[in-house]
Subunit: 340 residues, 2 copies
DNA sequence: AAATAACTTGAAAGCGCTTCCAAGCTCGGC
DNA sequence: GCCGAGCTTGGAAGCGCTTTCAAGTTATTT
């Protein structure tokens, strides 16, 4: 195997100095065209590739951004949210020639190790998915100088840059839709109340109910954690209170709820209408197909990267905060007459 | 913001040379206990963290392994396979203090860019998921000197190190189970025939059928691509040929097939028995719950990393090749009397 | 034609760390 | 009390690249 080429080799072969070779390599000005071409020639012929680590050390940028995914709940496997988000992020990184470094936090140990590894020069920036991960980590991140963007709204950090979707409005619209269809006893199975997504979606539910002048009935609110199984059990607890409609904090929980409903020999939407949240592929394939709230997850990921790169270039002030709108997708599970 | 500490600062403060400080930092021998302690003290007090890039440049190892996921089919989102695999890999990497760099190949462009970026010193090793990605890429990888492990059996590279599951045996057992239950017309919806998983699972189907002395009926074999929708359409094409059982190349396709069956007013397993492949969470929650083949995906990911690290340490010869066994999980969709 | 501006180029100083090498020590054995 | 073995230690040479600075060239201005 032939010895790896260095920029010095290229410089020697093209009969210029290393500095000039570097200029050509990086497409910098102040090189005569003739020389520039000569150097390119040598680079092409030899198949030379610059050594990324050396380059990083000298330039103080690595071209790597971190993607931190919090303590892996079952949700990571079940929920297509993460793959979608990751895909949006990866797509945009590829486009801008950045590389992604993935940190799946699984153990307490991982979490401890994380900050030190992240804070010290390997990464140009970090995208953190909010979740079960301690605010403490986000604290540290924001204190530090490394550019960061939060995916989802961080609970106690109004000054952080983040991208989020308007969960309150989304949930509000979902519940309002049910109310307008004539449902009288609309219940909800919330997502994980340790996340802003869970909290906000419950808030949207409350606002819609109150907007119609209906008193909030605590028995009609049960807490889940975004997983199918929590939707299933949530629904079982709800059934004795005779809801005629349920808004669930995720499609996955909606699937669980439907399972429980069918098992109780009731049917969707005749006996109980359902509206989910996410509009990921399974929603369309459910039986009945799910009425749900669509989030632009892909754009979400794209934007997160764009913001991060902006921060890397231009500094973290002012905070960039973007909230995406959601869209109600009406299918059959809500019993709407216009169902597809 | 305080200037970043360097090893020189530590050395100065501890009144030793940089060489000695480095020895202490890396827990190397040949340092007097007293000195070692003094240096540690300074490191602790100052909160010094070594600069990973500088360290990589000097030591010629980065502690980063690449994870390459091929051209992203719809499957990446739908199929919990990838999250599970990723999780197994991440877990093991965390444990060994390696960092994962994720490469999702999405465009032709990405694929072109990939090899150059990978081949040149940023990564200590690479795990490649086989799939729609050109063998050409795996070719290049194997030619080069960078340690690599393939997840799944690469089609034309018997000399590669890989981890795989015994797809042929798995499929064989699935189909044999159906035959033993008395099914007479067992069909199959295969996975993507561009993958060894797809090919091998069909092969297993064929072997089981032939083993029972039944002639292969081409009409009972349709090709899908692991997605729900391909299972749905596949089943629709199968229905006119009156199968009484179907083995699908993935659980996701099984869900699609069930949807098509129900839509034709037939029922599972009474009219048509189904066996899937994967045993991921949705299988358990399907209605009816899916009889399927369980693959140890998590261990699969773990092993891939272990092999890779082994290669990094000890060289790529001889090739490490590991094939995991699968397990038939009997639930209700096959109509077995012992269904849960 | 002289003076000045603008562009090219290479030498050299890092970036922060690892590691080889040689020098200086300590200590036991005879 | 002397010698060599075996530790400790620091100096210095990289790892491969970027970037500053000053010197050398060429083009422009008056």
């Amino acid at each position: 195997m032939k010895k790896n080429l260095t920029l010095d080799d290229i410089a020697a072969q093209a009969d210029v100095s290393r500095a000039t070779a570097s200029r050509v390599l990086n497409d910098r000005p102040h090189v005569r065209d003739e020389v520039r071409e000569r150097v390119w020639q040598v680079i092409q012929e030899t198949g030379y590739k610059p050594h990324p680590v050396a380059r990083s050390l000298a330039s103080q940028r690595t071209g790597i951004v971190g993607l931190v995914i919090p303590r892996t709940t079952e949700g990571f496997f079940t929920d297509p949210y993460f793959p979608h988000l990751t895909q949006g992020i990866a797509y945009t990184c590829n486009e801008h020639d950045y590389i992604i470094s993935l940190f799946l936090i699984q153990t307490q140990e991982d979490e401890r190790k994380l900050y030190p590894r992240i804070s010290q020069g390997l990464l140009d920036g970090v995208i953190v998915q909010v979740g079960a991960i301690g605010d403490q980590f986000i604290d540290a991140l924001l204190q530090g100088s490394i550019p960061s963007v939060v995916a989802g709204r961080p609970q106690h950090h109004p000054e952080a840059s983040y991208v989020d979707v308007d969960n309150i409005a989304g949930a509000y619209n979902a519940v309002m839709h049910l109310l307008q269809l004539g449902c009288k006893r609309v219940a909800t199975i919330t997502g994980d109340m340790g996340t802003t997504a869970g909290l906000d979606r419950e808030e949207g539910y409350r606002r819609a109910i109150e907007k119609r002048g209906i008193p909030i009935e605590p028995d009609l609110i049960v807490h889940g954690d975004f997983t199918e199984i929590s939707g299933y059990y949530g629904m079982q607890r709800l059934l004795p209170h005779k809801p005629d409609a349920v808004f669930t904090g995720s499609d996955t929980m909606a699937m669980g709820a439907i399972r429980a409903i069918k098992q109780a020999d009731l049917s969707v939407p005749e006996d109980i209408a359902i509206v989910g949240y996410d509009d990921l592929p399974p929603a369309r394939m459910a039986s009945p197909p799910l009425t749900t709230i669509r989030q632009p997850i892909h754009r979400f990921g794209v934007k997160a990267v764009e913001i991060l790169l902006d921060i890397i270039e231009n500094g973290k002030e002012p905070p960039r905060q973007i909230v995406f709108d959601t869209k109600l997708i009406v299918r059959e599970s809500c019993g709407s007459s216009v169902g597809t």
